[in-house]
Symmetry: C2
Subunit: 480 residues, 2 copies
């Protein structure tokens, strides 16, 4: 090998430290197994079931007709004259095209996105929050929620009094946060969700985490994921009030990951936006700095590949907001396909419009199926020996605690694996089910978990649960 300009020793060390467990070694192994199956290699199963990624369409969820028609009409405006498309969709497509330079989605939009879509987002938020005002100039359209989250994490990257900036994240957390924090060389400050009370969040634990990190970093922001990923809980209003007070009292920017706001299944749970609660609390809390993220990748749309999303930034100092805008400008703009998808999310057909009946029935069917699957998964796993499972109130995931017998822990150690990775790896190799070990999200030391989505179509999910049951029984028989 010739000498290289770039070697591990002279590249960005943060790239080396970064982890992204959702697409870690097990995901790669799952891909290899799929290729082996294609080549006809004999396995104890005939397909890999990927419940490691919240990838709705990949698991058979059907696209919402209205959204795809809106995209089609904006890509091929000639179809605006076709009788095959409903008038309400055409009207929406024309409005978007009229607001694109040169009437083409092929032109750049403003860096923060098309004004017309940003205004639709603001109107959507006002409706959702019962009239709490939303300023369209606070809306930034993003390519999914990931780039938005990364831009905010990067914004607060500032060494103060010799201390590295820190971001408080829940444990367990979605690894996008740990990834971004590590990529920018910042400190991840863990606070634990309380598994015993349904993954709730309490102020005492926030305070402990905040106090302990002071020695080695300067905490600047607090991330909350509601409904929870990977934990599937929906925060109560009281819990949200507590969190807002804590952020305010400690001068922390609040980052509310609310991408699962439409995924609430439990009849006793309700989604409250941080913005609405903050507003209702009045001053000084209603002036709290907050960024809320939403996406077209989840909910009833599940359009992960299109990359649509938005963030609403609230109460930011105008000069700071100007810097955020400037930094986004250099990346030109987010994809217009994503922006059109956001428009579909926030400005859906209304009662009386020609597309309404179809839209609402598709929407309801998807959410009802997810609700059914949430119960199915919860009920099935709750019956497994040594499992502790919290009900899936929302989002798309279950995150059970599993008791791994000492003999299995020893077997894992012999293979130089964490016990939860060992369990997940055995599951993949013997049954083709691909889950993510809890260590990828973080868990209390000495406890073991995994995350599985609830996304396979119901029949397939039942089959999967049966395979899983057999695997677990065998595993326990072998190692107990």
């Amino acid at each position: 090998m010739p000498p290289r300009c770039l070697q591990l020793a002279n590249i960005n060390p943060n790239f080396i430290n970064m982890e992204y467990a959702v697409r870690g070694p097990l995901d790669i192994r799952a891909g290899e197994i799929e290729k082996e199956l294609e080549r006809g290699v004999k396995m104890p199963f005939d397909q890999v079931i990927r419940v490691n990624i919240g990838d709705c369409h990949a698991m058979g969820q059907q696209p919402v007709t209205f959204l795809r028609q809106l995209l089609t009409l904006t890509f091929e405006p000639r179809l605006l004259y076709s009788p095959d498309y409903p008038e309400d969709v055409k009207k929406r497509a024309r409005l978007i095209l009229d607001n694109c330079q040169g009437h083409s989605v092929g032109s750049y939009t403003d860096s923060a996105g098309l004004e017309v879509v940003r205004r639709q987002v603001a109107a959507f938020i006002e409706r959702r929050d019962g009239g709490v005002p939303s300023d369209w100039q606070n809306i930034y359209l993003t390519g999914g929620s990931s780039p938005g989250i990364k831009s905010i994490v990067s914004l607060i990257h500032c060494q103060l009094d010799g201390k590295t900036p820190g971001v408080m994240v829940p444990i367990p957390q979605y690894p996008l946060y740990s990834g971004a924090i590590t990529e920018y060389g910042m400190v991840k400050v863990d606070y634990y969700l309380e598994e015993e009370t349904g993954w709730s969040l309490n102020r005492k634990e926030l305070q402990r985490s905040f106090d302990e990190c002071q020695q080695h970093c300067n905490p600047r922001a607090l991330v909350v994921i509601n409904p929870g990923n990977p934990t599937g809980q929906v925060l109560t209003r009281d819990n949200i009030v507590e969190i807002i007070k804590f952020a305010h009292d400690n001068q922390l920017l609040l980052l509310a990951d609310e991408v699962y706001q439409d995924n609430v299944y439990d009849k006793n749970s309700k989604f409250y936006s941080f913005k609405k609660v903050m507003h209702e609390m009045g001053e000084p809390y209603s002036s709290q700095e907050l960024v809320s993220f939403h996406s077209t990748s989840k909910g009833y749309l599940g359009e992960c590949g299109i990359r649509g999303g938005y963030m609403e930034v609230m109460n930011l100092c105008p000069k700071v907001k100007a810097m955020l805008t400037k930094s986004i400008t250099a990346a030109l703009c987010s994809t217009t396909a994503g922006q059109v998808a956001v428009s579909a999310l926030v400005n859906p057909p209304q009662p009386g419009e020609p597309s309404y009946e179809r839209f609402i029935s598709e929407n309801n069917a998807t959410l009802a199926a997810l609700k059914e699957r949430a119960e199915l998964v919860y009920n099935a796993l709750s019956g497994f020996e040594g499992y502790k499972v919290n009900p899936i109130q929302g989002a798309m995931y279950v995150f059970p605690q599993i008791e791994i017998p000492p003999k299995a822990i020893a077997a894992a150690k012999a293979k130089n694996m964490d016990p939860d990775v060992f369990y997940a790896s055995e599951l993949l190799e013997t049954s083709g089910i691909c889950i993510v070990p809890g260590s990828g999200f973080g868990q209390k030391p000495g406890t073991y978990h995994f995350r599985s989505t609830i996304l396979p179509q119901t029949d397939k999910l039942k089959l999967m649960m049966e395979k899983f049951r057999v695997f677990h029984a065998e595993f326990m028989k072998k190692y107990k």
Copy 2:
């Protein structure tokens, strides 16, 4: 105002230092003027002509039918059964859908993009470069070229021997580079293109720049933009050989921005890819580490808003490449619309296929119109008093040097403006033409330039050139 968690004093200082001139104050002012015109405010012109951004469709370039049909069929697969779409497009759409999880572009792709499209890109590069092999596993699909460039700049961010990493960029340069370098807190190392010899690049100047920067930074990479932005030159093969030797001798990663590879107008110029030249030079040069960027935003497609692009990374140490892949993984994947657009770029209809005639005639018409406009702009501006203009061999821009009379320089000073900004601002306010002052790209001290695109439709461009002529004559009369 309540106290804020985030203030200018405690956010990322790199955000404050960043500049992105293409969308600077003049672009914002142009937007204000447009709104004033809409409200009926009287101006000395009835529309703003935006020649500040390389935004093809915004200036009336028509989308390529084949690309839009491919997008439509992948987003609405029901149309695969419509007789309105040619079979070759359907075949391509089916191939893409067959390679999407769940047969939907709504599912996530691999982080580096769909394997099928990456293979098409590799085949395209091999055809382009006369058989020089391309490995599809070196191809990363990106959302336009910007995110690719940013990820590579970030990859080499490593403090070595207490020195900050530097990136060598041409002056004038496209401000994406300065923006990314500043955002990551790295050092921009300027080397000057030689205006007198048609913006060519010589080794002596590269060496000067490299030597002088050693005291304050550690140069890691060399950026070359070919065809040039904002300068419009096409590098000769000899020039490319020189650059490759220089990069090799100084252990610099080569970043070749080749997004204008299809935009060559001068009959004596030819596009040579850095990869091909490197390959032909043989060892040790053929092992040089190189990243090449391409995009669907320019060329005959001009699909800026869709955000499609790719990068080919060559000769990278496998361990380093793995880190790059990992960092991309955390952003999940680039937009599928962009990936489909890349597929259209690299796998267009072939002779004999039903879409071929239409495709090739649209493609030729667009490139012929751009060639005509390049000549038109060059000829018009060459006649202006005090202008020095290099021929527009390629890309989409002209970057003339203008002599600004001392009286105008004094008038600019009185307004606290750079002279080139003053000139561009006067042009905007009196004629509605929006250009970018040379200082946004960098220029030799004491010289003044601006960048204008050649994108307005020919009739409009003629009108614009006449307005421009009148403005310049008045300006000279006033200040000479």
